[in-house]
């Protein structure tokens, strides 16, 4: 029984050791087939049949021409302009606004680009600016709290809202993964069932960043006593 799990082990070891992901996955598939008693021809046929019927999972490519042109004509620049135009009184609230925008953008398949393009150059300076305005000055500990919170907001918005778009690669993976196990579902329905998690993630994000402001209050009080 245990030997049949060798494919799972290969994927785990391969990804931990940072081997090439595609080669690791294909190798795991072939070895799994072999220990499962399949012939090489059977394995290639199964692999090929499934790959062709699951081309669904790569449909996102069809959205790239339009997105590419929008980016060429300033999509990301206008998103940055928009975020910059919103002033918030505290660091936590600044991060909440960003997370809300990031969540909506992800749900509408607008790729905002993440940590290098938004968090570092836009969100962190705005949040730290709000904190400096409120507390006078901020020390390294406070700055770490803000930066960790801002980086997290980017991930929450990105991860938990992207499946609300029916053409995202995650949604399509779910559709084709279920189809391969004999459960035919529509991408639109998977996207609908992804909405509750996106909403809950946003609510949790708001709570988390209200707490972040409290954390900063405490850290500022402690810093003042030094």
């Amino acid at each position: 029984m245990l030997i049949r799990l060798i494919g799972v082990a290969i994927v785990i070891v391969g990804l931990i050791l940072k081997f090439d992901t595609i080669a690791t996955v294909v190798l795991a598939g072939i070895v799994t087939g072999l220990v499962g008693g399949m012939s090489i021809m059977d394995i290639l046929t199964t692999l090929g049949t499934s790959f062709v019927s699951q081309r669904t999972a790569t449909l996102f490519v069809l959205t790239l021409p339009a997105i590419g042109i929008c980016e060429r004509f300033g999509l990301k620049e206008k998103a940055i302009d928009f975020i910059r135009s919103i002033k918030s009184a505290t660091a936590g609230r600044t991060i909440i606004v960003y997370e809300a925008i990031r969540t909506l953008a992800a749900a509408f398949s607008i790729r905002l680009g993440g940590h290098p393009q938004f968090v570092r150059p836009v969100v962190v300076p705005m949040a730290e600016g709000a904190a400096v305005a409120k507390y006078g000055k901020i020390d390294d500990d406070m700055s770490d709290i803000i930066r960790g919170g801002a980086a997290g907001a980017e991930n929450y918005g990105n991860f938990f809202a992207q499946n609300c778009f029916m053409g995202s690669s995650g949604t399509l993976l779910i559709v084709s993964g279920l189809a391969e196990q004999g459960y035919e579902v529509s991408a639109l329905d998977i996207a609908k069932w992804s909405i509750p998690v996106a909403v809950i993630s946003m609510v949790l994000g708001i709570i988390r960043n209200i707490m972040l402001d409290k954390q900063l209050d405490k850290a500022a009080a402690k810093g003042g006593n030094k």
Partner: protein, 313 residues
Amino acid sequence: MTPAQILGEVFYCVIGLVFILVGVKALKDDGCSKKATTAAFWFLLAFTFIAGPWVPKWLVGAAIVAMAVLTAIGGVVQSKNDVPDPASVRANADKFGYKIFIPALCIAVVAVVGATLGSKVPALSWLTANNAIGLSGAVALVAAILLTKCDPKYAAVDAARLMDNVSTTGILPQLLSALGALFTAAGVGQAVSYYVSMVVPENNVLIACFVYCLGMALFTMVMGNGFAAFTTILVGVGVPFLLAKGANPLVVGALGLTAAYCGTLCTPMAANFNIVPAALLETKSKYSVIKSQVPFAVCMLLIHVILLYTLAF
């Protein structure tokens, strides 16, 4: 073939064409050190998309193995891209303003409206969810060209540029579904469920929900890849312990992947999301981002268990 299938194949041919463009771009780039192997990868991939349904399937399988060899030897690299220069992008941003969001929003809106109409109106039955995604890409492209009045060649240039940025890992979801098929054919699901059934009492769905969500998160933490974890745990736990007991596949599928993402928030293995940003933001510890995310991830995972238990049954 039904009209829906014919249209579907047309869209897959368009995707194949994008792959060919990436390959041709590599061939034309004399500065690219691995242009032959890079082009070979993209052409093989295009072959599986365009000719896949019409050729013996072992041939597609062989093409996949060849592609894996090419990436394993590091033979597939990015070639030179026509990157728009920042000054002209800025000038265009000022010229077009927030209108540039219209084509981008078209994608999501047309896809949802199209798929909904397709499932409700009999005359539009060719508009399956998949075809609606293709249609949304086409409508958005037309909107983008009409709005910006740009040379339509940029549709090809920018598609190749973005696809090259996405790189070879763009086919990972599709490849993992194929791995899931092999896992199932070789009895991996039975093996995993044999061991899981030692822990999970027969017919206790609450514990099964918990093991499914936790399994997703833990496997993602170990592998650093939510997609790979999703395939494994869906086959090993989701199918035998939830779907076979009558759980709603939509809920099991949708919540499975986001449960995996809870694991992504907690692991240094997902370096791009956690370690690289910490370095980029110059935090004191490289684990600052993870530390900040763990409480959120734990809450979120528990909520997943509750949602799965209440919504799926």
